[in-house]
Homo-oligomer: 334 residues x 2
């Protein structure tokens, strides 16, 4: 049975409230009293019961981070960054995995966790802006990832369209004309897949290249296996092409694997550029060119926005656009 404030108070010979005051930094306390209380805390190994504190204070000090899967390196690294950023505010992060499941994403928005956490940082994959409007209710939320439609939610993103355009333009710059895009979500109306496709198409347009629908390959989950499958499909179809822009790095690494397996060279035969700049990208053979989003910047911005939203429920929603940069490595360089 752990010690409570009552035990501490009794041992220190003060009232419960005085213990509470000492612990919460109330200024008007005699030094000697404070010392006695702290000694008692120490002696009993007292730890505050957070359920009780939260019940009273209406805050839990917990935030929820909802991502598709931690086993995807990008989200593992992102979770890492968010947890660190949250720590600076002494918040605790509770990670929820949504899979790629719409029902679970809706569950996160409207679900039971909302009673447990003060706010939500949410990287949605399948739910639409309309869903978000509908289910979020009056709850502090920060979205990760651009929303195509305007939605009254704080939002941190990198410029997906610009970044995708830059990645594709880089392939054009090194002389490629037949550039595949891997990872589209043809049925989505919005979301990163849509935006990255848009950037890809814009870059082609600017280069005067006619897009070829045969070179645009969907991939639902953006895992390595799907990247490899998509690339195999392209290679086996006999479609001629000399480069691929993959919508994330795991797709790209899977695709690169399939190219090499097929006996072709990267980048000589097929140049590949990815997106996310996960650690793997730097140690693949050849190392993978990729768009590096400012992960720490994104995490910090998300936590900051959420903090402001929690403190002050009513204010215009904000959009933070984080920086990105193209890291050119050997998968696109001679």
């Amino acid at each position: 049975m752990p010690a409570t404030m009552h035990d501490v108070a009794k041992l220190a010979g003060v009232s419960v409230k005085t213990v509470s005051n000492v612990l919460s930094g109330y200024p008007y306390i005699r030094e000697s009293t404070k010392a006695r209380v702290l000694a008692a805390v120490d002696e009993l190994g007292y730890r505050m019961n957070l359920s009780a504190r939260n019940l009273r204070a209406g805050r839990t000090g917990l935030i929820c981070l909802a991502v598709p899967e931690l086993s995807l390196p990008y989200f593992g690294e992102l979770a890492d960054a968010v947890i660190r950023a949250a720590e600076e505010r002494s918040w605790t992060v509770l990670v929820e995995q949504t899979g790629a499941d719409r029902e679970r994403e809706v569950g996160v928005l409207s679900g039971a966790r909302r009673q447990l956490v003060d706010g939500l940082i949410f990287a949605p994959l399948t739910v639409s802006s309309a869903d978000i409007e509908q289910f979020r209710g009056d709850f502090p939320i920060v979205l990760l990832g651009e929303r195509t439609f305007d939605v009254a939610v704080d939002n941190v993103t990198i410029g997906n369209v610009d970044a995708a355009r830059m990645a594709t333009a880089h392939l054009v710059d090194i002389g490629r004309r037949r550039i595949a895009a891997i990872g589209t979500h043809p049925t989505d109306a919005e979301g990163p897949a849509v935006l990255r496709l848009e950037g890809y198409l814009a870059a082609l347009r600017e280069a005067g290249i006619e897009p070829d629908t045969e070179l645009i390959v969907p991939a639902g989950l953006w895992h390595r296996a799907e990247g490899a499958a998509a690339m195999r499909q392209l290679l086996e179809a006999g479609t001629r092409f000399d480069a691929a822009f993959c919508f994330n790095d795991t797709l790209a690494l899977g695709a690169m694997y399939a190219v090499l397996r097929h006996g072709l060279r990267v980048p000589e035969d097929i140049a590949i550029v990815g997106f996310d700049d996960i650690e793997d990208a730097r140690y693949s053979m050849p190392p993978l060119s990729s768009i590096a989003p400012g992960r720490d910047q994104i995490a910090r911005a998300a936590v900051d926005l959420l903090a402001r939203r929690i403190e002050q429920r009513e204010h215009a929603h904000q959009q933070v656009v984080a920086d990105f940069e193209l890291r050119i490595r050997e998968s696109t360089a001679g």
Copy 2:
């Protein structure tokens, strides 16, 4: 202001306790009453206040998973598995990152989180068994990873020594005699690095191969960068060798990168085997042979052990040894 049980009770025309009873599945309730209550819950969008419930019940429904870093793929995948296993018990997992920092690991054992969670699943890196004995107090804990010294804590592991021995023996089987070991922690007295080294040495001994200390290279963090650095060090030292057993897959992938960069072939010049079988391993070029621990089995066992420990504080501590298998891929196969 969210609705409380009182609001629901008033709307349904029953007592608060009846609402509570309906919601917690108490059997003796008239169907019509139950229906009225549920309708009221629905109409008000009522969600239970978990702080209050926890305060009353003395349980939070949260468990803590403490790992070094989520951005390490193995731990990302492990966290994924633990979260899924915990979900089946409708527990929520709170992930704590310890870095490789002893102070933080001690903090996890003795820290403030203990008031917030019902139990802890802990993958320690730096703390010793003695630390664990000292700091854990009376708190439900399950350790991930073998303890060399006996410590009164539930424990899930794979047979590190056996697995390392099998990996090394595999290299011997394909005809290698000069086998490097990458990833030792020379100052540790226990922990996976020590055990894997032990397995490595055992396999050499069984094959009648004299270990060569020049081939045993430390690496603190088991990141790709350290694996690459260790391998570069070996290559530049001019030490002759024809294989490497890396203590985890990220080390192995970094090492493989360095080998290929150095203009040598894998496996012809240097065969490489890793440990953990992370997803990357299957898509590197060449694909990496690795020890596959039963990750889901480990996660489930850890959650099960923790559940038993929470329900019933007093009983002998248990050790679960999960299965592993060697996945042979091209990094060790002609």
